[in-house]
Structures are given as structure tokens and as C-alpha cells.
């Protein structure tokens, strides 16, 4: 059984958290934090398995993780799962994300956290692996997305228009124009 699936970035900011056993919110945050501390101090060329981690722990449990660019994908599993199998599963998960978002990057996970959850739900259900075949997973996801689009139909058109305008986000773009960071520049002037 999988006990928890966590995705966080190189700074420990959670991007996805799915617990298959109940923890309250503060405990969840603590677990994420602790897991991040455990995982982040490991080199890239060490093994992908970790024992310990008191919160999620129990001697039967292991952390199996992978590090992709800016993101850590961490699965906490018990002894009935195969270690390498879970590594595969993480790979399948990431590749599926990659297909769904076309070159997935951290921003996709940030802005489409719900979609990521829906994708994950096609891989793992209640802590048990549901499907590992990527084509099947993609088919299911596409069918569901189609369903959502159908439902949205015309009634959603204005909303979409608004959100399109919103996502142009003019104030933000003005903000985003790179000016030299003035306070910083002033600081730099001092010696």
C-alpha cells in the first residue's frame, strides 16, 4: 500500500500532497517539511530509497523518491510494494504529466493542482496502484476531459473569455517588466 504521495519543489514548497491515511492539516505540513529535509540533503547520485522519517515512519515504511529538475516526487510505501516498481510508477506518473501538459514544468503543477490530482487518481486509488499502462491512463484522462468540455459547452464561453483576459493579466505583466531591483542596486552601490 502507498501511504502518501508528496510532490514538492527544491525549496520544500508543496505542489501536491495526497495522503491515503488521515493526518490533520498541521501534521501533513510537518510531514512534508520533514520529508523534504530528509530528501533534500541527499545527493542526486545516491539511491532512491530512504528509511526512517519518524512521522510517516514505522519500520515497514520506506520513502521512495525521484528528483526531476526542480521537483521531488516522494512516495511513502510499505513493504508490500516493490521498490523498483514504485520507481517505475513515479516515472509513469511524470511521463503522464508530461503528456497531459506538453512538456510539464513546475508551473503546470502549481496552476493545475486539481488536474494533477485527477491524473494521479487514474494511477493510484486509495493507496493501491490502479493502472500502470500509460496509454490506458491517457485514454481515461482524455475521455474525462472531453466530458468536462461538453458540460462546459456554450455556457462557459463568456467565463472563458473573461479568464482569457484575466490570464493576460496586464497589471502583472507591467509588474513583470524587469527593472533593476532598485533597493538592491542601491545596496550594491555601498561598499
Amino acid at each position: 500500500m502507498i501511504k502518501a504521495i508528496l510532490v514538492f519543489n527544491n525549496h520544500g514548497k508543496p505542489r501536491l500532497s495526497k495522503f491515503y491515511q488521515y493526518f490533520d492539516e498541521s501534521l501533513q505540513q510537518q510531514i512534508i517539511k520533514e520529508t523534504f529535509q530528509l530528501v533534500s540533503k541527499r545527493d542526486d547520485n545516491v539511491c532512491n530509497f530512504l528509511e526512517g522519517g519518524s512521522l510517516i515512519g514505522g519500520s515497514d515504511y520506506k520513502l521512495i523518491y525521484r528528483h526531476y529538475a526542480t521537483l521531488y516526487f516522494v512516495f511513502c510505501v510499505d513493504s508490500s510494494e516493490s521498490e523498483l516498481g514504485i520507481l517505475d510508477l513515479i516515472q509513469v506518473f511524470v511521463e503522464t504529466l508530461d503528456k497531459c501538459f506538453e512538456n510539464v514544468c513546475e508551473l503546470d503543477l502549481i496552476f493545475h493542482a486539481d488536474a494533477v490530482h485527477h491524473i494521479l487518481a487514474e494511477l493510484v486509488m486509495g493507496g493501491m496502484v490502479l493502472q500502470t499502462n500509460m496509454n490506458d491512463i491517457m485514454a481515461r484522462i482524455e475521455e474525462q476531459n472531453k466530458l468536462v468540455k461538453q458540460e462546459a459547452g456554450i455556457s462557459a464561453a463568456p467565463a472563458r473569455a473573461v479568464s482569457a483576459v484575466k490570464s493576460m493579466n496586464i497589471p502583472q505583466q507591467i509588474k513583470d517588466i524587469k527593472l533593476p531591483d532598485l533597493p538592491q542596486a542601491i545596496k550594491d552601490l555601498k561598499f
Partner: protein, 1080 residues
């Protein structure tokens, strides 16, 4: 109305959606990269963000108040995101349910997602959802049902499981593979919360193993794999199906699961192992070829993204994962096969060599897994692993902590007399270099574990060991293992007399030089041991006065250590005074008295009450002596002769500490027969209880040195209430605990292990007149538990009537001898082998307590009553979990079955004749059975654990009935048939459970007779080797019955699908349940 809707839509456009929320949150904080460096700004941005989020939550609350479902939906989606950031959103539970109940898939999906993130099985709101979820499950749209299943799997509660079990079962035979797959997985969650569902659902589950859709197959395999962790023997009859799947399927994931399952099954059925070896090796070959192939192919592709690398790695692992599991199972198989006969050591050798290749691989993952697998072999074949010591020592230098820890584990099992010093030297070297206190602590622990295992079997020079311990102390690991080292010091000093002289001098140095740092380091605990050793073995000291002065030096120490100091100051004082006596040195003794009295003032002022008290009594003692001395000093006529009174006092004092302490087994107290008229359950004083009610200490007040202060405190407190419980209360408590535990998925794994304890307890309570006394044993604090049963066993064997003291002495002699003989003799054979087996058990407990035991166990195993033997053997497997003996209770059946299966497989040819035998064993177990059965009605979840999870009604009936048959043996055949009809009906009806019970009560147990007679026929054949024959026999037998009843029963079989299922369900139980039936 329409206007309103339009208006709603329009407003909605300007609400924040999820994307806006996320963007807003991100805009309201600083650049993340700077977060760690600029603390202040980080805090500011944190508050900005928190403020923004609380603002958003207010907005969301507004939105949730609106009527428009889309607005709510949007709000809930935002809440889900906010939840991930650590905010509690359970207040919106009702709104989430509203969104879930929307007819639109989009909303439903969002609702269920939110629910799965924030609901949990204890949520009260779940009551409201039952009907809605049922509606969704039966929805026309498969994705509605799919989403509902996904969500449900995260928050399903016992009530929901009970109410929805049938709907989910129906989905298992849906026409859509997607739903079948999800429903099958869902059933496992249902079983967890509502174990009664397992029995009726099992036939269907089994059917799904042969589903045309591979996904469904895989899901079913997955579920059975999980189920089999609890109680593998139930699934033994499915082995042929899995075997077929294994040879035909190409789905890696499923193969891994099947192979894992086989790994769990082979120990139960050795012949399965033999059959497996060949296909497994085939698989290995296939995988190797595949993996090479794929690796090459991938290397040829040129992709320049970060994914390429991982893709290659992935291709590599996907093949390796199966390969690894295969190897793993082959190991398990080989171990289970070869445990009896030695001629398989060649194949083990082969495995070890393959593993060596894995460990040498540059891929760290494989290295890790190789070490992991190696440790499995180590348990049974330490010799073959020892050959690879070099490799494993090399792994200690690995930069990866996971690998180092694994290697450490392995090293523990590999030490021998020859290489111990070398390995310890390496480890000490590592400790000096290692960073990270956790790892250092681990190293320290391992060093001690390695040295002390099996009563210091591998230590040949105890002066060396003492030195190592002192070095460990000086390494200042910042360790939490101070107490452990202290225990070791005490243990060695007490049990190895020859090393004492060396020890006292080392300890004097230690006392002198040890600097107590202000840190919350527990290392000062060693002072406790050191002080005790110098005091107790003062005779060995070369310069006792110096040591005395060191002890008297005022230092800031915890109370319990100061207490020991004072106590040992008296010992040293007595010793010195005696020497003065011998020398007739009156001024010397007077000076000594004054000096000690003076220095003790410091302790008199201690804030610790214990220290004060002891210092006071010490002062009084010495003052007494001093007075006797002054008498003579005043009387100047007789210079320099010590008055007789003073001589007497000194002699008496010396007498106080005379005699040697010998190690006492933790359970030794139990060998003392309870004196007549002593009722420990009676208050000696009215509560609150006096301090030493249950103290096991005896004549010497030094004894308290063996029991740490904290233990003493907690012991009486824990013990007292438990002893007052009547057996019924205990039973009730256990059942309550059981219910709680079987509801708790965390207990999954522990279940089989704890079975042993249950068996043992049940065995002892039913077989022994002293049952009650032992019932209480499990209430003794945890630390003592590992030896509980052994203690009982020893006692029982103790009918040999050796007196307690005699035994103790013998133990001491034995212990001392093992210590000595290690130097000269090389004792091999039985003894060392056994201790090897015990190793695992030792690892858990601090071995100093456990030491003298194993020999006893070994010697007595044969004479032991049934229950105890079981648990002992279990103990050796290391499965026995000492932490909670109670959790075991329900599984008592389990273990019995376990054993009987093993017995049956050994003697399976005789099994046919067993009808009379089985009735005999029936009687034997009657009482046990009866007990556990009684509890059954309340203990709903215990069904899975009791080892009756045999999935169909008939089987249960048989099981239940046979238990009741002990009460009521003569009922007519017709009654049985009647009941069987009833059962067929009730199986279909939703209220099956109730019926079962009522039927059970009223018509009692005829079925059992029938069923068990069937079983007896089937028994010998129901072995994996001839599965077909067994199945045929079983089905024939059942069909015969079946036909009879079918005729008049037709009206009850309305649903066609159910009918066919029923048939299969009917043949199933016998096949599946046979093993468990053998008990009866």
C-alpha cells in the same frame, strides 16, 4: 429565474478562479529563492501570504453562501488548493457535499477531490453522503462512478463500507472494465473497514483473477496480495491460479505482485517452492535479455531533455524491478526449502553470487536492494554471506546513508570470533569520521549489538571489550545510548569475574576523567554503572582511597546517579575500614570517618530526596562508628586499640555488602512458588499504594541498582490495576483492543506475528491451572515481554523442582562459563546454531536481560505444552512482536492452523486417517475455541484475523459450527441439511450476517459435521501439488449437496448472475478453507 441565472453567471466571471488564487498567493510573497537567505523578508512575505489567504477564505465563504452551484464549485476548488498549504477546510464539509451531489461531472469531480483531501473515516458528515454515493455508483456514466470510487477510497468509513458493500460488489461485475477494476480495488478498502464483507465477496474476487481485462486481473492480484499479508494460508489454494497467471502474463506490475505473493506463500507450502523455481529462473532469464535489449535501444535514442536520462534509467529499472523481485522470491523459496536439508546450499551460494553482482553495480538502487536481499539470506545462511565481508565493509564507506545503514545491518550478522575485533575497529573508525549524530548513534548501537549478541558469543577478550566500551564513551557521540553502555558495563563486570580487576581500574579512570557536559546528553548514565562497579568490586581496587575521593568529589549530577555514588561510598568505606581493622590502624579509621562524614555533607544538601535519604543513613552509620571510636579516644589508657564495638560495627557493615551478586533472569521471580496466604492482589496499605508493593527486589538494597529508577516507578503503577482485573475483564479489554486494532490498517502486518502470543496465551490459560496468573503476564511493562513466554515455559518445566536459588546459581555459572569458555573452548553445534536463530529476538531486547535464556529454551522445547512451544518457535523466527501481546489474541486460530498446515504437509499421507485424530484435537482445542468464539459477536472485525476469513458462508458455518459442536455434538443429519438450505438463501440476502448468527444459535452445528467430513476427505489432496484433484474432489462433494437443495430452492435464486456466482462460491469454500479446517 432565467435572469437570475444569467446574472449569476455574469457575476461568476469576476470571481476569482483557482488560477487567480494561485497567482494571487504567489504575488503576495517574495521570490522563493531568497526565502532561506533573507530571514526577515521571508517572515514578512509569509505574513503577507497568510493575510492574503485569509482574505481569500473570507471570499470563499461568501461564495459558498450563494445559490449558484458553479460558484460553489469554484470555491471548493480553491479550498482544495488552500488545504494543500496547510489550512483546515473541514468547516466547508457541507458545501463540499453539496458540490459532490451536483449532477454535472465537472462539479462532482471537484467535490470528490475536495472530499478525498479533507474527509476522513471519522468525519461525521459522511452519514449524509451514503445515498448520494450510492446514486453515483449506480450512475449511467462510468466516470461518475469512477470518480465516486476514487473519492470514496480515501475516506470510506465502517458505516459507509457496510452500507455500500453491496453496490460495490455489483460494480465488480459491471460490463465496463474501468469500473470493475476500480471496484475490485475498492473492495479491499471495504474489507479493511468492514471485514464481514470479505467472505461473501471472495468468490467474486477470485473470479476477477481470470477477468478478460488485464487491468482488472492486476487489481484483483493486488487486492489478494494485500489480503495475504494478513493471513497467507487462506490464499494457498489460489496458488494454481496465480501460477497460471505468472506463466502467461506479461504485465510487469502484476508479475511483481504475484511473485511477492508467492514469496509469502512458499514458507507455508514447501512444494510450491519447488514448482516455482523453474518458471522463476525462466523469468529471470527473460528479463535479463529484455533488459539488455531495451537498454541498448534507449541508448541509441538521442533526446536532449532531462527526461532522456531518466528514460534510460527507467527502462533499466522496469526490467530490473521484476528481475529483482524474482531473485528475492527465489531466495525466499530456497530458504524455505533448504531450511531442512543442507544440499541446497549450492543454490544459496548462487544467489549470493548474483546479489554480489547487484551490490557491485554502479547503480545505487541496485546496490541497496542487493544488500536488502542479502540480509534475508543472512538470517538463515550466515556462512555464505560471511564470504563477502570485504564487499560489505566497502559499502560502509559509501556516501549514501541508506546503503551504509543496510551494510551495518548485514555486518551484525556476519561477525565471528575471528573477525569481531577487526570489524569493531572499522566501525569505531567510522564513528570518528561520521557526521550526523543519528548515524553515529546507530553505529554505536550496532557496535554494542555486534559484540553482545548471543551472550557475547564472539567476544574472546573481555578486557578488549571493556576498552571498546570506554572508547565509545569517550567518542562523545552525543549519544542517546548512554544507558545501553552502562548496562553493558554492568553486565560484563558482573558476569565475567576475570575482567573485574581490569574493570574497576578502568572505571576509576572513567569516574575521574569523565566530564559531564551540560548538554542533554545521556552519556552520564555510564557514571552510574562505573560508580556501582567500583563500589561492588572494591576488593579488586588497588587504590581504594583514591577512588573513594573521586566519588566524594562534589559534582553536578542527576539524582539517581548521586544516589548510587553515596551507596557505593559506603561500600568503599566498609572496605577501607576493614583494611584498617586488619592493620589495627586506629588513627587511620578515625581519619577516614571524619573525611567521609565531611564530604557527605555535600550530598546531604542535595535536592534529590533519594540522595538526601541515603546520605543521611550513610552519615548515621558512620557516625555510629565514629562514636564507638571516640569512646576509646577519650579513654587514653589503651592507646591504638580499636574497641570491640567499633570492630563489630565495621564487620557488620562489611557483612552488609558481602556475597556476590549473580545475574538474575528477568523471570526468575516467577520460579519462586507463591507462599500460602500471600495475596498480591490485596492492598498492603490502603491506596495510594506503598512504593514497594510489587517490587521484585530482595534482601540487598543494592538490588535497586539493577532496576533503574524510572522503571521502578512505572512498574508498580502499571501493574497494580491490571492485577485486579478478573479474567473476564481482561478478555473484554482484549476484545475491545482487538476491535480497535483490526479497524486500524496499521495493524495489518503485525497480525500474524502477534498470533503466536495469542496462541501462547490461550494455550497457557487453557492448559494450565495457573492460567490466571499468566494472564496477567501480558500486562507487565513492555521491556520484559520478550521473555514472558519463555519464563512461563521454564516455570512449567520447572516441575523439575529445582529451587529458585539453585537455578539462579546455575545460570550464573553458565553465564560465567560461556564468558570464560569463549576464550578456550570452541563450542559448536546445537548451541551456537540455536543462538543464531535467536539472534533476531536478541537484536530487539537489550541482550543483557536475555542472556542466560536461550539455553533453557532450547533444552525445554520438547517438554513444553503445545501453546508455549508454538510461541517459542515463533520467537525464533523473530516475528514475535513483543510490543503488544494483546493484539495477538484473536489470531490464536491462525497460528494453530499455521502449525497444523505445516504438520499436515509433512505428514500429509497420514492425514487421511485423521478423522479420529481430528476429533481428538477438536477436544483439545475446545476450550480455546470456545473462549474466542464467545467473544466473536462483539468483535466484529476479528473475523479476518481469526483465521476464518475463509470466504464463504459454508466455510464459516463449518468453522463456527465445529466450535459449537463441542457443546452440542449430537444433532441429526436432517437438521444440518435444513440449515444448509437456509444458508444458501441467506448468503444472497443482505442480512446474511444476522441470519448466520440466529441460525447458528438455533440449529447449532450440524453443518459442521457434514462439512468437516467433506473436509477430511479432501484434506490430504488439497495440496498445491495436486490442485486439480483437490478441486475436483471438493466440487464433487459439494455438488452432491448442492443438487439436493437446488430443487426446492429455485425461488430464492432470482438473479442469474448471482446464481452462477453462488455455485462457484459454494465450491470455493471447501477448497479454500481446508487448511483452516484441519484444526477441527
Amino acid at each position: 429565474m432565467a435572469l437570475k441565472k444569467v446574472k449569476g453567471n455574469f457575476e461568476r466571471m469576476f470571481d476569482k478562479n483557482l488560477t487567480d488564487l494561485v497567482r494571487g498567493i504567489r504575488n503576495n510573497k517574495d521570490n522563493e529563492a531568497s526565502a532561506t537567505t533573507r530571514q526577515f523578508e521571508y517572515i514578512v512575505s509569509f505574513y503577507l501570504q497568510a493575510k492574503y489567504i485569509s482574505q481569500c477564505i473570507e471570499e470563499i465563504k461568501q461564495e459558498l453562501r450563494q445559490d449558484n452551484i458553479n460558484v460553489k464549485c469554484n470555491a471548493v476548488a480553491k479550498l482544495t488548493y488552500i488545504q494543500m498549504l496547510g489550512y483546515d477546510i473541514s468547516w466547508a464539509g457541507f458545501n463540499i457535499i453539496e458540490v459532490m451531489s451536483s449532477s454535472r461531472f465537472t462539479c462532482k469531480r471537484i467535490g470528490y477531490l475536495a472530499a478525498s483531501q479533507c474527509f476522513h473515516p471519522d468525519s461525521e458528515l459522511l452519514m449524509l453522503t451514503t445515498n448520494m454515493i450510492r446514486k453515483d455508483l449506480n450512475s449511467q456514466n462510468q466516470y461518475d462512478a469512477g470518480v465516486a470510487l476514487s473519492g470514496l477510497s480515501c475516506f470510506i468509513s465502517p458505516d459507509l463500507s457496510r452500507d455500500l458493500a453491496n453496490d460495490i460488489m455489483t460494480l465488480m461485475s459491471s460490463t465496463k472494465p474501468y469500473l470493475r477494476m476500480k471496484a475490485v480495488l475498492m473492495m479491499y478498502k471495504v474489507f479493511l473497514r468492514y471485514p464481514e464483507a470479505l467472505r461473501p465477496a471472495f468468490p467474486k474476487l477470485k473470479e476477477k483473477l481470470e477477468d478478460p481485462d488485464p487491468g482488472v486481473q492486476s487489481a484483483a492480484v493486488n487486492v489478494i496480495c494485500e489480503l495475504a499479508r494478513k493471513n497467507p494460508k487462506n490464499y494457498l489454494p489460489l496458488a494454481p491460479v496465480f501460477f497460471k497467471l505468472m506463466t502467461t502474463s506479461t504485465n510487469n506490475w502484476m508479475l511483481i505482485k504475484i511473485i511477492k505473493l508467492f514469496g509469502a506463500l512458499t514458507p507455508l507450502e514447501p512444494r510450491l517452492g519447488k514448482k516455482l523455481i523453474e518458471p522463476l529462473t525462466n523469468l529471470i532469464h527473460r528479463q535479463v535479455a529484455y533488459h539488455l535489449n531495451k537498454k541498448n535501444k534507449k541508448l541509441n535514442e538521442n533526446d536532449n531533455k532531462w527526461k532522456t536520462e531518466t528514460k534510460i534509467k527507467n527502462a533499466f529499472t522496469s526490467a530490473m524491478s521484476l528481475l529483482y523481485e524474482c531473485i528475492n522470491t527465489v531466495i525466499a523459496v530456497l530458504i524455505s526449502i533448504s531450511s531442512g536439508m543442507p544440499n541446497h546450499s549450492a543454490s544459496i551460494q548462487l544467489c549470493v553470487q548474483k546479489l554480489r553482482i547487484l551490490i557491485e553495480d554502479s547503480d545505487q538502487n541496485l546496490k541497496y536492494l542487493g544488500l536488502l536481499a542479502m540480509s534475508k539470506i543472512l538470517k538463515t545462511h550466515p556462512k555464505s554471506v560471511q564470504a563477502h565481508k570485504d564487499l560489505i565493509l566497502a559499502c560502509l564507506d559509501d556516501k549514501d546513508e541508506s546503503i551504509r545503514l543496510r551494510a551495518l545491518d548485514l555486518l551484525c550478522g556476519m561477525v565471528s570470533k575471528k573477525n569481531l575485533m577487526e570489524i569493531v575497529k572499522r566501525l569505531l573508525g567510522h564513528m570518528e569520521r561520521a557526521e550526523g549524530s543519528a548515524y553515529r548513534d546507530e553505529l554505536l548501537y550496532k557496535v554494542i549489538e555486534i559484540c553482545s549478541q548471543s551472550s557475547y558469543l564472539h567476544v574472546t577478550n573481555f578486557e578488549w571489550y571493556m576498552t571498546v566500551l570506554v572508547e565509545l564513551i569517550q567518542l562523545e557521540a552525543g549519544s542517546k545510548h548512554g544507558r545501553l553502555i552502562a548496562e553493558q558495563l554492568l553486565d560484563v563486570a558482573i558476569r565475567v569475574p576475570v575482567v573485574r580487576q581490569f574493570a574497576v581500574n578502568e572505571m576509576t579512570n572513567l569516574l575521574d576523567t569523565f566530564a559531564v557536559s551540560a548538554q542533554s546528553n545521556s552519556m552520564y548514565e555510564v557514571l552510574y554503572a562505573a560508580a556501582w562497579i567500583v563500589g561492588e568490586f572494591a576488593a579488586e581496587l588497588t587504590d581504594a582511597e583514591k577512588t573513594l575521593n573521586i566519588l566524594l568529589r562534589p559534582r553536578q549530577l542527576p539524582g539517581h546517579i548521586q544516589g548510587v555514588y553515596v551507596q557505593n561510598v559506603i561500600k568503599l568505606f566498609a572496605r577501607l575500614a576493614t583494611t584498617c581493622l586488619e592493620l589495627q590502624d586506629l588513627p587511620g579509621i578515625v581519619r577516614l570517618c571524619d573525611h567521609v562524614l565531611d564530604k557527605l555533607q555535600h550530598f546531604l544538601g542535595s535536592s534529590d530526596i533519594e540522595v538526601q535519604e541515603r546520605a543521611n543513613s550513610a552519615c548515621m552509620l558512620i557516625e555510629m562508628l565514629r562514636k564507638a571510636l571516640t569512646v576509646t579516644l577519650v579513654d587514653e589508657t589503651q592507646p591504638a586499640s580499636i574497641p570491640t564495638l567499633a570492630i563489630e560495627i565495621v564487620q557488620e557493615m562489611a557483612l552488609l555488602f558481602a556475597g556476590e551478586l549473580i545475574p538474575v533472569a528477568p523471570k526468575a521471580q516467577r520460579k519462586v512458588p507463591l507462599p500460602d496466604g500471600l495475596d498480591l492482589d490485596e492492598w498492603i496499605n490502603a491506596p495510594p499504594p506503598a512504593e514497594d508493593n510489587s517490587s521484585t527486589s530482595s534482601d540487598h538494597d543494592k538490588d535497586e541498582l539493577f532496576v533503574s529508577a524510572s522503571q521502578q516507578d512505572s512498574e508498580p503503577a502499571k501493574r497494580r490495576p491490571s492485577q485486579e482485573l478478573t479474567p473476564e475483564q481482561l478478555e473484554r479489554q482484549r476484545m475491545a483492543r482487538l476491535i480497535e486494532q483490526s479497524n486500524n490498517p496499521n495493524y495489518l502486518k503485525a497480525a500474524p506475528a502477534s498470533a503466536s502470543a495469542a496462541a501462547a496465551l490461550a494455550g497457557s490459560s487453557s492448559n494450565n491451572s495457573n492460567a490466571d496468573q499468566y494472564d496477567n503476564i501480558d500486562d507487565i511493562p513492555i521491556t520484559e515481554l520478550p521473555l514472558d513466554i519463555e519464563g512461563v515455559a521454564a516455570l512449567r518445566v520447572g516441575i523439575t523442582k529445582r529451587s529458585d536459588k539453585y537455578l539462579q546459581e546455575q545460570q550464573a555459572a553458565e553465564a560465567a562459563q560461556t564468558g570464560k569458555s569463549d576464550k578456550k573452548k570452541h563450542k559448536k553445534g546445537k548451541k551456537s546454531k540455536k543462538s543464531e536463530k535467536n539472534k533476531v529476538a536478541y537484536n530487539n531486547s537489550s541482550e543483557s536481560e536475555a542472556e542466560p535464556k536461550p539455553l533453557h529454551i532450547v533444552n525445554t522445547t520438547l517438554d513444553m505444552p503445545e501453546g508455549v512451544t508454538l510461541s517459542d518457535s515463533e520467537d525464533k523466527d523473530g516475528k514475535y512482536d513483543p510490543n503488544d501481546p494483546h493484539r495477538a489474541l484473536d489470531i490464536e486460530l491462525d497460528i494453530a492452523v499455521f502449525e497444523s498446515v505445516a504438520a499436515a504437509t509433512k505428514t500429509n499421507t497420514e492425514a487421511t486417517a485423521s478423522s479420529s485424530k481430528s476429533s481428538a484435537s477438536k477436544k483439545e482445542r475446545k476450550s480455546k475455541e470456545h473462549k474466542s468464539r464467545k467473544a466473536q459477536p462483539q468483535a466484529v472485525p476479528d473475523l479476518i484475523d481469526t483465521g476464518t476469513p475463509t470466504p464463504t458462508g459454508a466455510a464459516t458455518a463449518a468453522v463456527e459450527a465445529s466450535s459449537s459442536s463441542s457443546i452440542n455434538n449430537n444433532v441429526e443429519q436432517s437438521a444440518a441439511q435444513h440449515k444448509k438450505k437456509k444458508r444458501e438463501k441467506s448468503e444472497k440476502s443482505e442480512k446474511r450476517e444476522k441470519r448466520e448468527k440466529s441460525a447458528h444459535k438455533s440449529s447449532s452445528s450440524k453443518v459442521s459435521k457434514e462439512a468437516s467430513s467433506n473436509i477430511i476427505d479432501v484434506e490430504p489432496m488439497d495440496i498445491v501439488a495436486e490442485p486439480a484433484a483437490a478441486a475436483a474432489a471438493a466440487t464433487d462433494a459439494v455438488k452432491a449437496h448442492k443438487k439436493k437443495h437446488k430443487k426446492d430452492k429455485t425461488e430464492s435464486k432470482q438473479k442469474l448472475s448471482h446464481k452462477s456466482l453462488d455455485v462457484s462460491g459454494y465450491e470455493q469454500p471447501l477448497g479454500i478453507s481446508t487448511p483452516s479446517k484441519e484444526i477441527f
